[in-house]
């Protein structure tokens, strides 16, 4: 039984591993770009899932950690010529530290109040960055072309960035599995089900929630740095797009919240759908409306998401999907 349990955790890792290798072997630029977007959302959705799926706290403004961490990492790369890996780690660290501080304040709030507070934080961060001189204010920052030389030119730099993102995605999935299968994760799930009862059973809820919030904020900060570096510039409008938060929520709900595989499946499916909608002549300006309808249908009819639904219907899969 133990080995089959481990299989459930290894499956998402194996898929991403093979997928990345396949993209590298193919070596096509367009494939790399689409895969970059998909991996980015797998990473975002999986890290948000640690808060939403395991701990039961909805963060609508989670994109703030992508934006702010990304801004900081990009600032270090573009203005201080820091290498990409330490810069993205610094971006993640900033996001994690910010979540730790915010957690002390806003994790006292529960349910809808917490969700609303996170939206407020995102808007406040956007306003702050738009007026913050070192980050370039409203016009943002961009990379000097010479910065790419350290990676052998612009083309190879994009491949390097892709490889980093691929590794980060693997680490996110690994972290998600480790949290879910640990004692810490059991405490988080107890908080999700009934926070007061969990505390009476000995779960240190304030600390556990804050740590979960920090983990779920750390990875978006790293991913943001890589994404902006790939784009070559960053501006407030790109960094703090609230609808990206909502889209990450849709992915989690679609795939199955509280599972390791669900957010990944949701991200892949949603990105595929979005790709179709954006290129189809009828829906091209309606893709957000469609995702809204999607969310509604999921919550009404399959609140457990695809993975939850399969696990419920086919008992055999419970050992294979986590």
């Amino acid at each position: 039984m133990k080995t089959r349990l481990r299989f459930g955790y290894l499956l998402p890792l194996a898929i991403i591993l093979v997928w990345g290798v396949w993209v590298l072997l193919k070596g096509e630029d367009t494939l790399r770009e689409t895969t970059f977007t998909v991996f980015m959302f797998i990473g975002m959705a999986s890290s948000l899932n640690i808060l939403l799926g395991y701990t039961g706290y909805v963060s609508f403004g989670h994109i703030v950690f992508f934006g702010l961490g990304g801004y900081f990492g990009f600032y270090l790369v573009s203005q201080h010529n820091l290498a990409l890996i330490p810069a993205s780690l610094a971006g993640g660290a900033l996001s994690g530290a910010l979540a730790g501080l915010l957690g002390l304040a806003v994790l006292r709030l529960r349910g809808a109040y917490f969700a609303l507070a996170t939206i407020g934080i995102n808007e406040a961060a956007r306003a702050f960055v738009s007026n913050f001189g070192p980050f370039g204010g409203a016009t943002g920052l961009f990379v000097q072309f010479s910065a790419y030389e350290a990676y052998g030119g612009a083309g190879p730099a994009l491949w390097t960035t892709f490889i980093y993102l691929w590794l980060v995605t693997l680490v996110v999935l690994l972290a998600s599995s480790l949290v879910k299968s640990s004692r810490f994760g059991l405490g988080l799930m107890a908080i999700r089900e009934d926070e007061d009862a969990a505390m009476v059973m000995g779960v240190k809820a304030p600390r556990a929630k804050t740590i979960a919030f920090m983990i779920s904020a750390f990875f978006p900060g790293m991913i943001g740095t890589l994404y902006f570096f790939k784009n070559g510039n960053v501006e407030p409008g790109d960094a703090f797009q609230l609808h990206m938060s909502i889209e990450a929520l849709v992915m989690i709900m679609l795939g199955g919240m509280g599972t390791v595989f669900g957010p990944m499946l949701g991200a892949v499916t949603y990105q595929g759908l979005r790709g179709y909608l954006l290129t189809s002549p009828i829906f091209k300006s309606l893709h957000l409306a469609v995702s809204g309808v999607f969310l509604l249908v999921i919550i009404l009819f399959i609140p457990a998401g695809v993975v939850g639904w399969i696990r419920h219907r086919i008992p055999l899969t419970r050992k294979l999907l986590e």
Binding site: M189, E193, M199
Partner: protein, 248 residues
């Protein structure tokens, strides 16, 4: 040894005096019954004991240590576990995982593996072992009550607070639950229980205390307490008047 000492505990909610100067002691290994009419402050007392509320005045001493005002999770780690009156199962977790939460975060802070094997033992005691892998939400009320108990036991506490674990059960379920409670006590755990099913309290308690309007109005052996005029008055009103009403 005195396991629990409650000294002059007072709790006010605005103008409402929920507990006033409640004082009692609970020696190790006993079952102490806590009774009183609705609104007497019994559940509030539990909430003060396990740290959900801090008292306005007074002290709670547990195993010689002052635990007044500690948050619930710190109280839990010192060895006080609680079963709720209204069941609060962790619905989306399995029965086994529910009990493991108690084990992992309770007094002994067990690892997942240790907690899982501990959970098996506890589930066997309360008779839920065959349901270990079901989701807690799939249990019926009597089973959820047993789960509530199992979860509290899973932390291997020194003191178990039972808040009306018999409420809502039918007579045969009550008999089975009382047997389980006796078994728990035989295992060395001290129990403080709130109960409305009088016959049950009288049967299992070593001593009983009676709360009314937040005050301890009587304390002693079960048979002493039921014949105490103050207690009868608290439950039924004036005993002489009651007597006259009954006699017609």
């Amino acid at each position: 040894m005195m396991l629990l000492q409650v000294q002059e505990v007072t709790k006010r909610f605005g103008g409402l005096q929920a507990l006033s100067d409640v004082t009692f002691e609970l020696p190790e290994g006993q079952i102490l019954g806590l009774i009183g009419p609705n609104g007497a402050g019994k559940t509030t007392l539990f909430n003060v004991l396990n740290g959900v509320f801090a008292p306005n005045k007074g002290r709670v001493i547990f195993r010689g240590e002052d635990i007044t005002g500690l948050p619930p999770y710190d109280v839990a780690r010192r060895g006080i576990a609680r079963a709720y009156q209204v069941v609060r199962p962790l619905n989306d977790l399995t029965v086994r995982e529910n009990v493991m939460v108690g084990g992992c975060f309770g007094r002994e802070c067990l690892s997942l593996g240790q907690a899982a094997s501990g959970a098996e033992e506890v589930l066997a005691v309360v008779g839920l072992l065959d349901r270990a892998d079901q989701l807690a939400s799939s249990l019926n009320v009597a089973q959820k009550k047993r789960l509530e108990l199992a979860r509290a036991l899973g932390s291997r506490p020194y003191l178990l607070l039972l808040d009306e674990v018999l409420a809502g059960l039918n007579p045969s379920e009550i008999a089975a639950m009382l047997e389980t409670i006796q078994k728990i006590r035989a295992g060395g755990i001290t129990i403080l229980m709130i109960e409305h099913v009088m016959q049950a309290v009288m049967n299992v308690s070593d001593r009983v205390i009676v709360l009314d309007y937040g005050q301890v109005i009587a304390e002693g052996l079960p048979e002493e307490v039921v014949n105490n005029p103050l207690v009868i008055e608290a439950y039924l009103g004036d005993p002489k008047l009651t007597q006259r009403l009954i006699e017609g």
